[in-house]
Symmetry: D2
Subunit: 347 residues, 4 copies
């Protein structure tokens, strides 16, 4: 930690900072400059509270050298985390996992048809919302628990593992009953009550990056999960807010190799929400896989033109088959494979 | 609503859209252009689901002419909403309300000292967090219910009304017991479970704009509250995420007159979180008042250098007195006044 | 300057950085931490080239403590710069200067009518583009030198000083012949060939902030002008790019007090380009004045509905009169005044 | 074009817009809605000036259905443009072109060593700045014409084609004498005087996307080049400004398939400037190639730790060889190849 003094800070002000650092139990090392003095705090164990120094007279800013997160960092745990799911499917290992399905669960017919279609093309996991966080209170809000039951039925019929979103602490318990992975959506990335409950759920969590979250904030939200004892955390890049309305979001693919260098947690990519346009989903899924994503999550609807939400960015079955072929080609090129689906339980 | 077709869309594709619009019960009016055809949907009553059209073959995009929010709009209710608080304090009327206090409630001594200091200078409401949404799980998370009790004590001793944050549905009920206004923080602006519960709380709600929320999204989140029957909603501009690390956020003051033109709800401004720097708080509070804010919310700490959070952006008592003097001068200049504090209950 | 080493950097790598710093003629002060070591460079006189250190093995990043600009900073020159213009008008002193006029010079009739209207209401300077940087090659590009002559005629008839834009190095000489202040537009803020020529022009320069320029970048572009010997530089905040299409840009009013703390150069504000909507111009002009702007620059057109460019954000004469009244009220409230226009030359 | 009226616009105001549209020679088609009326302009040939309608009383906004660019669009020219360079190298065809070299030309020894290194690994074009746009006036500004001569020498010795930047209209002529492709840098994307001169230079132009330019703005800047008769235009995605300082910029790879759908012009990607970190360059080069980029442009320096600029993001020779191997694997996977370098002239 570096305490930067204002230009013209007095010797007394510098001395006060030095003393405060020593009071806190660390060593202080002043670095004089022509414009201003900075004071290095030596021996930071990550527990120094910067606000104690920031408000002292003459202090311009505090610069953090140490990352504020701990357990999620590569420096804490060097080997890559591989999240083990039922039946031997793993996220973060050699194989790239493809997660596909509709935006929302709409009916038994729709979710089962979608599940069969994506299973046939090679997906190993099914996505689909039962609880939908919608910007408008007047939009379709999901089928709730009924949707969770339909997802479980689709899993039984196809062998696909299920990932679906929980929107509040109570919902976590309900989703945990039915799903294989609990999703925390982008809007809830900093819903800390929700994170704490998900951290105690005993289920793997897929944590989506908030729409304007920095990588540090994403990792700190994951830290909430690990701090509660849940180490089965999968991060997800799904696009951040940008200035150009030509696409729904800016797909920050660089986050993939960056997260892999900073953290041991696996990271998957969602090109459907990131781009918002069906035509862009396939090339951007290729790009995400090429950048090193551990999984690709896409919206597929048996009849996109009848979808109750996100129809414009949903692939149909044929387009999804093309996506699978192209993802396989890319994973081959970089020495990885694509995870195979499990057999159906009820088959 | 306008359905824009792709360049080269066939006459059949155009016809299909026209028919779909008619199936939905509206009238369709094609607008041919040299590059592409657009089709106007006539008679939109706000209930058209765009995804039904967006996914049709040949459709390039859907352009919304009608705003997606209803009850919050000036078009729904033309006269300005004035939120009436206990003792006759009102937000949205002639007087600008000043809300001040520390970031967090830290102790009885601290919150009572802060309350007396801001009351003496002329604030009429006290802010202070008992439940703190913190980016890191290792930061001070607030005193919880004990903090709420201390806020209530400070109210009794000073007559200041209390606004404090609820972070989850269960917390809403607890905060509603103690506070005069329930705050929904920026990170929770799209926590829809929380919004719904706050909408049923029977207490006025201060809704902060999310860090990358558009004005439309802010108004739609407010719509969740009104849709549950709570019309006592106060919006708050507190800075949005920008590209320049020179300030903590970008204080989007233009949101103030813009919200006032689009909505009948009052809007206050928080220059402390928006700027993150003590030196900038006073000029930006002046600017917000000049732009037409119905209130100004600032962080004041009796001893900023000992604050457990946000010390760098907190004013001390003397600086807050200066702010009050300058706010009064600005409100005079624009024909408004500053709301006077109530007498202390225990006085 | 602080050189932050990667976690796991070897003692040899740290030593190599220390030696490199000494080779460059400075003193090195290592600051060990639990996660990583940082090395302070002591005695930085602003001439250290960070790339010499950044590329060394084991280096994670370079953190700058010293600002990269010099002559524009308050640390270089503490007293406020007041740019003296012909006839005694000054920018940066007690009085706020109002600059008004149409987006483009369109005809003699239009510019003279606009000049009379804004002069009558109390503006002291006339704006209007003769060379127009337009996003599309098919938009009206301005009248060129003929436009400059019309501006000079309007000045003769009204006494208003003229500010107008130069778009390329050759244009600087032409604009300098006719105008009192040369404007560098937002798109050219980092057109360094243009900045150098304007720095040698012998005329005051109004430098607009680029659409996504940080404050540091704005000040460094101003530094190009001062480095060429031109100290008569006026900065201008005109909105930065944001994520919400509800307004044309985000008006970053906080830049006004921030620039005033970092630099001695005056700063004016342009609410017309910042907001893009006529209804928002007046409240945001008030806000800018309240925040401490040294001038306000607005678009006024005698007949906005016939303007060849920017009609939507132009005020008509009556609206501009209202703006002047409100600006006067705000400047009174903060202890400043409004600069009075000069008498007409040809009167 | 759609003219959206304000809520509460009078029948007279609607009528006035209809008449104005007819005066301009088009047909008007009103679309009434419950909240507001919109008026479609039928038969837009791209020459309607929106400002003529935007400023009419009662108008809320103008919505553009027709793209503002023409010659650059796929709708104007459906087949992909392949820019033919000397010796048969082509950009926009089957093969992906790799352009590599140092940020700046520093010395004969440096540029010739760099050229040999990248030629050996398989690059077919050499990049290197002779004129450097630098944020600070105190940074190394390039060797100027001497740098151009050294680039020409490196070309003679290696057979690599040369791309280098021109910063002002006069510089275009000088660069055109020596280079095979003239680069317009990100800061100059909207330097329209420069674009016009480059449009008349008779040389292919590589146009970099501005740091906060929308795709529409990028294409309109390219339109300036085509409007001057230069059809040999190559676009370049090099990262846009974002809110997270974890990387230098946000690499907007989605721009690659998006530009390919909107325009017939080829597009290359620059992962060095986009990420700013050596470790991220290789994975992001893979991602760009997977997304469909027609070329990849990277910074390579024989000794990155001695580079006068951009040392932190430059690859060394060995890292560049790895990049070439991985790019080849990706282009194989998507059915493309990598362009082979030409034989040296002086060989």
């Amino acid at each position: 930690m570096l305490v930067v003094m204002k230009h013209g800070a007095s010797a007394e002000e510098v001395q006060r900072v030095v003393e405060k650092i020593r009071e806190l139990g660390y060593d202080a090392r002043p670095i004089p400059g022509q414009q201003r003095t900075a004071i290095g705090l030596v021996g930071n164990d990550g527990r120094v509270d910067p606000s104690r120094l920031a408000a002292l007279s003459g202090v311009k800013e505090i610069i953090h050298v140490t990352q504020p997160y701990k357990q999620v960092s590569r420096e804490w745990k060097e080997e890559q985390t591989v999240v083990q799911l039922p039946g031997g499917i793993a996220i973060g290992g050699h194989d790239v996992v493809v997660i596909a399905g509709p935006c929302s669960v709409e009916s038994e017919k729709q979710i089962v048809a979608a599940a069969h279609a994506v299973r046939t093309a090679g997906a190993s996991m099914l996505r689909g919302g039962a609880f939908k966080p919608r910007t408008s209170p007047y939009s379709f809000q999901g089928l709730g628990e009924k949707g969770l039951k339909l997802l479980a039925k689709a899993r039984d019929e196809t062998g696909l593992l299920v990932v679906t979103e929980a929107m509040d602490p109570d919902g976590v318990d309900l989703v945990a009953e039915y799903a294989d992975v609990i999703q925390i959506g982008a809007r809830n990335m900093q819903n800390f009550s929700l994170l704490r409950r998900a951290g105690r759920s005993g289920k793997p969590v897929l944590l989506k990056r908030g729409i304007a979250a920095t990588i540090t904030e994403l990792l700190l939200s994951a830290e909430y999960l690990l701090a509660e004892g849940n180490h089965d955390v999968i991060l997800c890049e799904r696009g951040v807010r940008g200035f150009d309305s030509a696409t729904r979001n800016v797909f920050d693919i660089t986050a993939i190799p960056l997260v892999r260098s900073l953290s041991h947690l696996p990271i998957v990519a969602d090109p459907s929400h990131a781009t918002g346009q069906r035509e862009l989903v396939i090339p951007m899924a290729r790009a995400a896989a090429a950048a090193g994503a551990d999984g690709v999550m896409v919206e597929v609807h048996p009849k996109p033109e009848e979808a109750l939400s996100d129809g414009m960015q949903s692939l149909d079955a044929e387009q999804f088959e093309q996506l699978m072929r192209e993802i396989r080609a890319i994973t081959d090129a970089i020495g990885r494979g694509v995870a195979e689906p499990l057999p159906a339980v009820s088959a």
